[in-house]
Assembly symmetry: none
Homo-oligomer: 402 residues x 4
């Protein structure tokens, strides 16, 4: 079996998606998600100028060898662009393998450990009351776990809150918006917010929150400690993760579970975090974390240290990634939860999906491989439009983490 061709499909049905399609001499093709929000063009360029020519002629069944070919072969290794390309290649190869063997992906990586995977929704409210309403709305939809973000009194741009539209989408057309931030006001408000949420919705609902890298370790420790009475499912990205040791202080101070890594790319971003047991959930998604091949190793490593998966799953990843994640989550033992921010309907014109949401869970059907297909003709109707995530400044102008 040989790879005879491959191509990149860049489409913008509401937002940009990059899809790698690998074609074989046996009529079978595979799809991999290669979407990297705001950096789509760099991934496309790398795939087209280096990866695709190198793929032609390779046997697509050799996923392990091809993974190392691109990981080790790309001498100037590491980083989001490289690993997103590798992820897309790996995902497409596993899709091919499933289709060639006429079996769904989960069956190739361990079979079913469960039939469906619990997901969490987003509730993003402008203020306290709006936030409580949004939580109620998601609860009514059947979600058992909800990430709660809220506008903060005195802060013009809290993370995760739509300013003017019903549908929250962090990326905006054109250059990055410049948002403003005040950690002190946020820290004063958050415990109060979650007190109110718990008061309104009781103890059974799983509540999550994303601090989005905006805290120093000591600030994160304070927040994690003050949120303890409200029993969060997790506190996400309390500090930026480049310095893995930066998570130690939180752990000394609090028993609030910690999730991190939606911006990570390799198992090496997690070594200290895992072996020192500084976290509880792995956020790195298949699409940026090296695909099925690499993420299986990360999840297995994490399992030794009582750590579970909780993959990133916002609308900035395509249905190909989401479907692959459901397969993955069904197969491994140490699955925790899966983020689920449904795509707009227009996305499903382009991508034909095989998963559905019911009663707080997602599941896939038995379509071979990953099970998502792309309609290239429709994709071509939505050409790429530049769109960027915001940048963030403190109120004194300091360039800060978004």
């Amino acid at each position: 079996m040989k790879i005879t061709d491959a191509k990149v499909i860049l489409t913008c049905p509401g937002r940009n998606f990059v899809t790698l399609k690998i074609i074989t001499d046996q009529g079978v093709y595979g799809l991999g998600d290669a979407t990297l929000n705001g950096m789509e063009k760099a991934v496309v360029a790398f795939l087209e100028s280096y990866c695709i020519p190198a793929l032609i002629g390779k046997d697509p069944r050799n996923t392990e060898d091809i993974w190392h070919y691109f990981y080790r072969g790309v001498y100037w290794k590491r980083g989001s662009v490289t690993l997103t390309a590798i992820s897309a290649i790996d995902m497409a190869l596993w899709d091919i393998k499933g289709k060639a063997l006429n079996t769904p992906l989960y069956n190739l990586i361990g079979g079913k450990s469960r039939d469906r995977v619990m997901v969490y929704a987003h509730a993003n409210g402008k203020d306290l009351n709006d936030t409580l309403e949004k939580v109620a709305r998601e609860k009514e939809k059947g979600f058992l776990a909800i990430r709660v973000q809220s506008g903060i009194p005195g802060i013009s741009d809290a993370y995760g809150v739509a300013k003017d539209s019903k549908f929250y989408e962090p990326a905006h057309k054109g250059l990055p918006n410049v948002e403003q931030w005040d950690t002190s006001k946020y820290l004063n408000y958050l415990p109060y917010l979650f007190g109110k949420v718990r008061e309104t919705f009781g103890t059974d609902l799983h509540l999550l929150h994303d601090a989005h890298h905006r805290l120093t370790p000591v600030e994160a420790a304070r927040l994690a400690k003050e949120l303890e009475p409200h029993h969060l499912f997790w506190l996400e990205d309390p500090v930026t993760g480049e310095l893995q040791e930066g998570l130690r202080l939180i752990r000394k101070q609090s028993s609030t579970p910690i999730a991190i890594g939606e911006v990570f790319n390799t198992i090496y971003d997690y070594t200290t975090l895992i072996t020192e047991q500084l976290i509880d959930y792995i956020r790195m998604p298949l699409v940026h974390g090296g695909g099925i091949t690499h993420m299986k190793k990360v999840a297995d490593f994490a399992s030794v240290y009582h750590i579970q998966t909780g993959f990133h799953g916002a609308t900035d990843l395509s249905p190909v990634n989401l479907a692959a994640a459901i397969h993955f989550n069904m197969a491994i033992n140490n699955f925790g939860i899966q983020e689920y921010m449904p795509h707009q309907e227009i996305v499903h014109e382009v991508f034909k999906i095989n998963y559905r949401f019911k009663d707080g869970f997602l599941s896939v059907d038995d379509t071979p491989g990953i099970g998502v297909d792309i309609d290239e003709e429709k994709a071509s109707r939505y050409p790429y439009e530049m769109a960027c995530l915001p940048v963030n400044r403190k109120t004194d102008g300091t360039m800060f983490y978004w």
Copy 2:
């Protein structure tokens, strides 16, 4: 002062170089190297699709703020593509600052700590005798320090050895060559090789060697220990560096100095290596390590722990990076050595340089800023051609580090 325009110049005078040119409203422009061997197109795409639009209108003097704008603003951060783009921006901004203030770069980052910087040459021999000849040839040119690589008996493709040409250039036109490797033969040969080199050239010549990531920690410990009698200036990249703790074993076993990091991108790649004092030299170059702004922080951090600089400086970096590196090396106190692999003459048709080699040292003149200029018309005569670094397999076929 405002940035009014910027553009990317991709040229291939013998090999590919990416140059960022930032233009201001005051007639002053700056140049930054953005070359990333084999991934040029990805860097170009990222610069053109994201960085350049975002640069327009910014005040070029605010180097710290702009650095963080791109480092933090690129949400999916880290990695060679992102950091190479940031490096090029930062380098160009310091070039502008020097020109605007009419002073050479070194004067802005500490003045002169020395007038010239010791460099090391490459001697790459097909076999023992050829290697000894190559060392002799570089020594005659005046080099005081020479990196010695040699063909290994029984290995078809040792790292660093030209197969068929006089001029060693690791990148080849077209797809990656597949080379073959046998660690055991290498380990058996190396101490013998260096014994012969010392026997021939005496104790004064500084000898370096690059293991090019191909050893496990225990193999590296053996090699480092067995090379002790030959007093290497450094042993480079003894193991791959993604796992910083991977260097601990060598350090327990040997006093051979260790250099690492030509493929690194940020200070976070060095935190364990520096604070645990596992290395002696920083290899990360300005062009991939975040430019002047970030590398100054890395070098200063390293200095606290008795670690010196020894920047990567092969032909895969443009004269803009090399000149900036000489300024940098002249200014800091903890300079160690600079790699110097001279560009082919054709490169100097495109880039007008301000540095010269004499008696084993490189120095720059007092041209303001970085002091290198590019002839865009000549650059346009040499369009990009795909070229890749090799990949490497063990003799049993295992995909391995190149």
Copy 3:
């Protein structure tokens, strides 16, 4: 460019200040603060007997080399006298560089990361009510952050509280006052005090407190933990810092942010504190911490570990240091806060300043270099008068930390 002369100006407009003036062959001169409270004469003697003769003839642009000349060249290195002298030299050289290149200091060390820097005021009350009044008074002046010190019931001399004058000045003419101290009473009172302050002023005001080295680690841990509900911006100098490991216990017990180091002198005083992330703010000021050259390294090192600056800035440092600190704080990314204890008006007869306070922030104008000048004739009208900081005894007579 050569240094042709230098002199020390010792003046006492209300309190003693030591200023180093370095003069060049190009008509440009630079000023550096060399004030070391109570030890002024030792710094003057060292500058005059060693540093000034050694400076003559040197090129003032070589800031890095000259820094090491005095740091390494002073064989019996380290300590406040040596480093204050080196700081003054370094500050004056950067002042010269800015003037020679006709650009403000901040532009040489990264440009602007913000336009103004948040400062904190001192509120020192004799008792609870007086303290609340003093906080209110500073708040009315526009300060967003206030350090709160208070007389403690049963303690005759709490740190930071004026006994008999409106203007608090810790140094007194003549020999050291002997104050008295009782840690137990202090620990019992402090949480109550801050409870009242928060009750009166709400959650938005930033509150700081200085324990002034008077606690053991276990006492500091108790205090830091009991202050958690009141959300201090920082707790300063909870224990004396000679033993860096002495801060570990606090960190295990509390999420109250910690600041330390106004009496520190080099980066080596911070290595354990930074790499083990035991603190959140760097207190070492430019004038005692090796000037711009060294403090940039300290701030950058700290930034890797999520630590920010919060420089000492009491009236015991001259306007030259304060202006330099504002430049520095404007340029770096990891600025936290700046202490600001305004000088008496008489000080501004001698020093012509370029900064101003507004709405809780300090800013400098665009005068080249540091931007502060000294009127030597006026300085000569206020000759040195011996003045010392107090010493401190426990109630049983034990000599203790002040």
Copy 4:
């Protein structure tokens, strides 16, 4: 008993010495050495402007309280100037106590643990043969232990070697000499040198060597390992000691005993070195290490970790310090060795001494107190002359450790 007066005697019988004389109401006075090579004026200024006024009226018997008065009372604490002044005060108080009780100092700090203390001599040779001759000469004088320094082929200024006079004195009149250094040549020569010394003088002679802070940890590890066959008594100051962790690597690599700290000032400079057992000998002398009171604590702490004393004792310390050191060395259990570089005869015109050298040992007589007196009239005949230790540059101009 009260202190009624104190004065500083600055004299230059061949080289500068600072002596503190404390006078009491009972006719007894004490002497303390306050010599700090090249920084004499700063110590004098600090003693005269702060310490002496504060001493008047105190009870000289309260050595512990007075020590803390000056250590803690000097708010901007630490460093050579402060601690040298404190050392001189402490030494003079112990001298007074001994005289007042009519008993030699050793009797107050533990009595005699031995009658005499082994010392080591300096042998400084221009080249190999000269070095061997110098060793022979010291051996003939009866020394059992000899520090061997030698001119290095190809290095113009090796540490410790007189260029043009018979009497080696590191300080020179006027501004610092600029010396030049090449570590590589030194490392290549040293093992050969010590091989020749051992070959010539056999295994019984104790050999010491001072690397004088000029090595990085990895270089020091190499040297310590390669000197192992020659069984040094100690290798001194292999790396500069500001970063105590910097000694770890040597310890992992070699069993050569290590001495460090002639430039240290407090017990905090030794905490990591002692508790991690990175060294074998304490070099900090009484005169810079806080006097009898503080050094007793340092020596006692060291004893817990099998570490012995080996105090600095070059001609840059006055006979007062040397006599006090002999008392100290006689009294403690964990004495190792004492450096002894005899003063020129002219020194003994000014200082009347109570110690003598015999058969490789120094001993003091039973004169009460420290037992050295100063002839103030003769001292006044030799006024202070500026003299400095050299500074040191690498051959490329890099400012380096002397």
